[in-house]
């Protein structure tokens, strides 16, 4: 495993410092270490090593005292994150303590954090979709936000690069607006999904229902095992079958001998040298001792998550940057985006009662975007688009609370009757970048270490609400035409943040006056600081973002290495 800089007696100077060890930080560490740079990864939480630190990975419900339940104390500790519905006895140790590190919701906003090595790559939904120029050109086309400084061609080979290493399972479809990845074999649809797919594709030319594209190995690669279909991913995978930084990128970085991970290290700010006109290191707080320390490097990669990175940059003030490092434009902290979520439809499928499935597939179906692709599909009420995730299944005994009856017959049916088939889809809609959706440093409310927290002021606006309406209407109609029964349309009207796809608060752009980062993810004003987590996103597409963070990180690291060689940084 990596060198751990625990006693701080080692040299304080490295070639590179990466702040954050999650989805994008792991990639930065891998690429920089493989290029020969001595790299220090700062992780604000504890060390997590696969298997050793996955205490619940093999447990069943009966092994847990509360069989998955939470105590009032657990709910208090996770009083923000609990709103996701994802936290339980089996995975609570991977979710941040909201009491130690609070934030203020100026308007309702859910910020889900995972404060340990691996970050949210330990908990993510693993859906992976390439962006296309429909996405990269969106801002330029309809005038919202600023233009991306890159296009699909700039990222295409980097997508292939990260996909080949991460392992993405899926089916090639040849859609120009949802480019195919370099795929491992796809997972299988179940009977009802196949049936619904056929009906939707017949009823709606141009719409597709496909198996989700996921960062799961369906064949072993690089010494990692293939998915065993246990569907216990959020406890940590003993087979390293799904992509996480702890299982995939950090071990690769470590294999070079160039990686040092310093746990319990909360990045406080980036140190700016006024004479040299560049960043020289990172100031951190040791979360266990409260001590402040400084580490130095030639380049800094910020991968602390969209809002984590933003907090660090806002807190990095100097004479040159009184309002936060690289914030000449005034856009740092602004243009916060997420995907709208939990709007869709649910129905019962009559038929295939004699069919079932075997294995617990950690994946569902995907319906790629079909609106606002061209003149024919143009909407009158909104710009941009949405896709759906969903799936079919039989609830088994989990649905017995709704089944009529009780007694011997009812009980025996728990063992023999898997219950009706149901099918649902839920939309993920693109959100526009609004300057007024922003975060600020909150110096009144401090965290456990006396540091300013974030005040988050963000809301959905007309375009997102119009899209949500369409999502529900389309979902109900598709389910009707696909033959579902007792269809329920739903719109849970969740606050932003619920999609756990925060993006945009240090956006890339062509013009330093209106953006924070350049086309290679460098702060316009401080070129040896790179931001390659979700903060860099200029718009947010409607597809899940992690694959794009991976590709952007690998590309930016390649640029950093090449600039270092040329002595430009």
């Amino acid at each position: 495993m990596p060198n751990y800089n625990i006693d701080a007696r080692q040299d304080m100077t490295y070639d590179a410092i990466v702040i954050g060890s999650g989805m994008s930080g792991g990639w930065a560490a891998k690429e920089l270490c493989e290029a020969g740079l001595k790299t220090l990864v700062l992780e604000r939480g504890r060390i997590v090593e696969p298997i050793k630190d996955f205490p619940t990975m093999n447990l069943e419900s009966w092994d847990f005292e509360l069989r998955g339940g939470l105590t009032p104390e657990d709910r208090q500790k996770h009083y923000k994150g609990i709103r996701t519905g994802f936290i339980g006895e089996a995975n609570k140790h991977f979710y941040a303590n909201d009491e130690e590190d609070p934030y203020t919701e100026v308007k309702p906003f859910l910020w889900v954090r995972a404060h340990q090595m691996g970050g949210r790559s330990q908990l993510w939904g693993r859906q992976c979709y390439r962006w296309s120029d429909l996405d990269f050109e969106a801002n330029a086309r309809d005038g919202h936000g600023v233009d991306w400084p890159i296009r699909y061609r700039d990222l295409e080979s980097w997508y292939t690069y990260v996909e080949t290493f991460a392992g993405i399972s899926g089916e090639a479809l040849g859609l120009p607006h949802l480019p195919d990845s370099h795929f491992l074999p796809p997972m299988e649809l179940n009977c009802v999904e196949k049936d619904v797919k056929a009906r939707i594709e017949q009823q709606y030319p141009g719409r597709h229902l496909i198996i989700g594209r996921v960062a799961h190995l369906t064949e072993p690669i690089n010494g990692r095992g293939k998915c065993q279909y246990r569907n216990k991913c959020d406890r940590g995978c003993p087979f390293s079958a799904f992509f996480s930084s702890t299982a995939v990128t950090l071990p690769a970085a470590d294999a070079t001998g160039n990686l040092t991970v310093r746990p319990f290290s909360i990045a406080h700010s980036i140190i700016y040298d006024e004479q040299q006109g560049k960043a020289t290191g990172v100031r951190l707080i040791d979360s266990e001792t409260g001590e402040m320390k400084e580490y130095f490097a030639r380049i800094i990669f910020c991968n602390a998550s969209t809002l984590g990175t933003t907090r660090i940059l806002l807190n990095s003030t100097s004479s040159r940057f009184p309002n936060g490092m690289g914030n000449d434009s005034g856009e740092l902290g602004h243009n916060l985006m997420d995907h709208t979520y939990r709007v869709g439809a649910f129905g019962r499928f009559d038929g295939h009662e004699d069919m079932y499935y075997s294995g617990r597939r950690p994946n569902g179906i995907y319906i790629p975007r079909y609106r606002n692709l061209d003149e024919q599909t143009k909407s009158d009420t909104f710009v941009r688009g949405f896709g759906y995730q969903g799936g079919a299944g039989r609830a088994g005994w989990g649905g017995a609370g709704n089944a009529d009856g009780f007694g011997a017959e009812y009980k025996d049916a728990l063992f023999t009757d898997p219950g009706p088939w149901s099918f649902f889809i839920t939309g993920f809609a693109e959100c526009l970048p609004y300057h007024e959706n922003h975060v600020t440093l909150d110096t009144q409310n401090l965290d456990k270490w006396g540091q300013p927290t974030l005040a988050i002021d963000c809301e959905w606006k007309e375009n997102e609400l119009a899209m949500n309406q369409q999502i529900e209407i389309d979902a109900v109609e598709m389910l009707e035409r696909a033959g579902l029964q007792d269809i329920v349309g739903f719109n849970n009207r969740h606050e932003p943040g619920y999609g756990i796809h925060e993006m945009g608060t240090a956006r890339m752009g062509r013009d330093p006056k209106t953006s924070v980062l350049n086309g290679t993810n460098q702060l316009h004003g401080v070129p040896n600081v790179f931001v390659t987590d979700g903060a860099c996103m200029t718009s947010n597409s409607c597809v899940n973002p992690s694959l794009t963070y991976m590709a952007l990180t690998a590309r930016a690291a390649d640029h950093a290495i090449s600039e270092l060689k040329k002595l430009n940084l």
Binding site: G359, G398, K411
Partner: protein, 196 residues
Amino acid sequence: MDRREALKRTALLGGAAASTTLLGLLQACQQQPRLEWQPVFLSMDHARLVAALVDTILPATATPGGLDVKVDLFIDLVYARTYDAAGQQQVVEDLEAFNSRSAAQFGKPFADLEADQRRAFLQEEEAGAPPFNPRVWGTAVGEQAPVGFYRGFKAMAVWAYCSTEAIGKNQLNYDPIPGGFRGCVPLSEVGKVWSL
């Protein structure tokens, strides 16, 4: 009939009727054998009610019943450990109201009813109880109408039953490491409902 309505109606029964009922309850309690376990949260009377409900919903047949796998003990633990003070207060009120409805109808708490009386009573409780909304990734979709005490309890009892090792491993179809996924398999080939 929701819980508040039930309480109101119980209250309307008036002093004399209530006193008689209460006396009946006391006498009945004295005649009952003591529980074989010490509840953490529930009163003895409420523990008897929980046990009676579990036994009626999930009786022992050729396969173990709810009481055989200690569903009642686990429900007591769930109330004790996972409910906050307000939730616990609600449970007490719900159990009280449930017994009051039983008493109003049959003059006895639920645990002391004959088998056919229990069935008739539960059928009435079940009728008109709104279902649980579908759940998507851990969250109910749409506006959830209150399912009422009985349906909530039934779902909890089934969960407490199926999540035991005795049932989850030995009665349901338990496959901890499937190794692969097949999307269309005849139910007859799978045999039983999946445990996980």
